[in-house]
């Protein structure tokens, strides 16, 4: 009996503590929600007030531009195949920029990722500095490097390729090193015991373990880099982005060309996107976080 009373008192005790706890938490969550909403609303209001057109006024005109483009494209649809052929080389250039920079970035990222993974790194004091370098490579938007390089090297695909490759080194270097951290050291030690040198230990002991994940990340990067390379075209780095910008900013009269270029670009992006996600699904299962770190 006394026991029951005691336990009842204990339950009451738990109740009060829990209630206090839950109320604090509720209040906290509520405040957080309000703060977030206030930030979002006032942020939007600021953005709108610093914008030329207002949100509500503009909403009605949202389809004007696509409609203008569409009507012109339909009107001169017979020219479309010609444009597709005409701009195909530019598309190839854009894809080449993406492919070459992904390849370069992945190769460099592979080496650097091995150099910054504890347990694999031959020179331990280099790990910290190299990691910072990767961080910086990742932080600089491609367009910044591209613009600076265009200044030095002139327009064309090379600045874009270098810019994207540098960014890719940063992004893939980090992802690869995360993959490396989950790789087993046992095979590496096994190879070390036979007298294998660093290169052999890495190529034969590590790469076979991590290759599928590497490949999957590299494919995803390729997808992203196609977009990046098209965008860099906008600032004069060649490829299809450059043509798209020129025709788009000409406006009425060349919208049909712009539409054709857009179709080419969009088609390519969707194609690569689909193919790569198919391949990636095959390479790794449980790719929950793959897209996350990009």
């Amino acid at each position: 009996m006394a026991d029951a009373q005691q336990s009842h008192a204990a339950a009451a005790d738990v109740s009060t503590t829990y209630l206090a706890q839950i109320k604090a938490k509720r209040l906290m969550n509520f405040i957080l929600l309000i703060v977030f909403l206030a930030l979002f609303m006032s942020g939007f209001a600021t953005a709108e007030s610093r914008n030329a057109g207002g949100f509500l006024e503009g909403l009605g005109n949202i389809f004007d531009f696509p409609a203008a483009m569409w009507s012109e494209a339909v009107e001169r649809s017979h020219l479309l195949p010609g444009y597709l052929v005409q701009y195909f080389p530019s598309l190839v250039e854009t894809v080449n920029i993406a492919a070459a920079s992904t390849l370069l970035g992945a190769l460099a990222g592979l080496v650097i990722s091995l150099l910054v993974t504890r347990g694999f790194a031959p020179v331990t004091w280099l790990i910290g500095p190299l990691r910072r370098v990767l961080d910086i490579f990742r932080a600089v938007p491609e367009i910044v490097i591209a613009l600076v390089l265009i200044f030095m090297l002139g327009g064309g695909p090379v600045p874009a390729m270098i810019a994207i490759a540098l960014h890719t080194v940063g992004a893939l270097g980090k992802l690869f090193s995360e993959v490396n951290e989950n790789a087993s050291l046992k095979p590496v030690e096994g190879l070390a015991s036979t007298g294998a040198n660093w290169t052999q230990r890495m190529m034969l002991g590590v790469i076979p373990q991590v290759a599928p994940n590497y490949l999957s990340y590299a494919l995803l990067r390729f997808e992203i880099n196609i977009r990046a390379s098209a965008i860099l075209g906008f600032v004069g780095a060649g490829g299809i982005g450059y043509d798209l910008r020129n025709t788009m900013s000409w406006g009425v009269g060349k919208y049909d060309e712009a539409a054709a270029i857009f179709l080419l670009l969009f088609g390519t992006i969707v194609l690569v996107d689909q193919v790569s996600s198919l391949l990636r699904n095959r390479l790794t299962h449980g790719t929950q976080n793959i897209e996350a770190t990009i």
Binding site: N61, G251, K254
Partner: protein, 282 residues
Amino acid sequence: QDTAITEFRIGILGGENAQDRMNSNECLRSSIEEALGVPTKIFAPADYNGVIQGLLGGSIDLSLMGPSSYAAVHIADESAVSPILVKVNSDGSTGYYSIGFARIDSGVTSLEGLKGKVFGFGDPNSTSGYLIPSIEIPQITGASMDNGDYFGEVKFTGGHEQTIVAVNNGDVAAGVTWADGQGNWEDGYNFGALRKAVDAGLVDMNDLVEIWRSKLIPGEPVVLRNALPDDVRATVTQIIDTMGENDPACAEAIAGGEVSGFDPITHDAYTSIVAARLAESN
């Protein structure tokens, strides 16, 4: 038509630094704000297209723009805007020229010397940087502007400043930009992109040589959105029209060089430009 507006928005373009542009147009902004009594803002997008889209979509009310850009707006929507005023040069003339130029040490002195070389346009929406030369130059060379037809390659540099820098650096063999054609070559003429580049210390005109000059191009119009209430249109027109007398410093700041002021103009002055632009379109 609206009876009242809540805001007035000016779109500006040109090669300078965005912030510098905003600063030089500040005097215009404040006088319009004072006269209309509504908040007035300046927007400086990175390229012509931003202002063109703004005028078409109704989010930009006023702009001083190149004839070709005006023509682009007019072609897209005849009723969107009309030209109200035009810049008057200090000698009283209006209009300007597209000037072809090259580095003096390249030995090129005329279009003939450019066969097979790289030629630079500015922005595809620029009148003097693209539209006019792309029509007049083929008449001289007798060949199209396509890559490899006469010139080895034809590039868009992105704008007047970029063209001047590109020619000066040798990135392109020759390029086109605009100038009033008055005054000394060494100074980059009295005004225009070359003069600005000289004043900014970007180039030394002694390093460059003029190789081609277009026919006179009608001057840059001030365009105003038609949907604005009549009283707003009248007030704004009045402010800029009298700017030359009331505030010459401001007039020069917004025009980007020595001017005597602004004079009324109508669409008729630009029919040839519209025709040229239509000819260039598909």
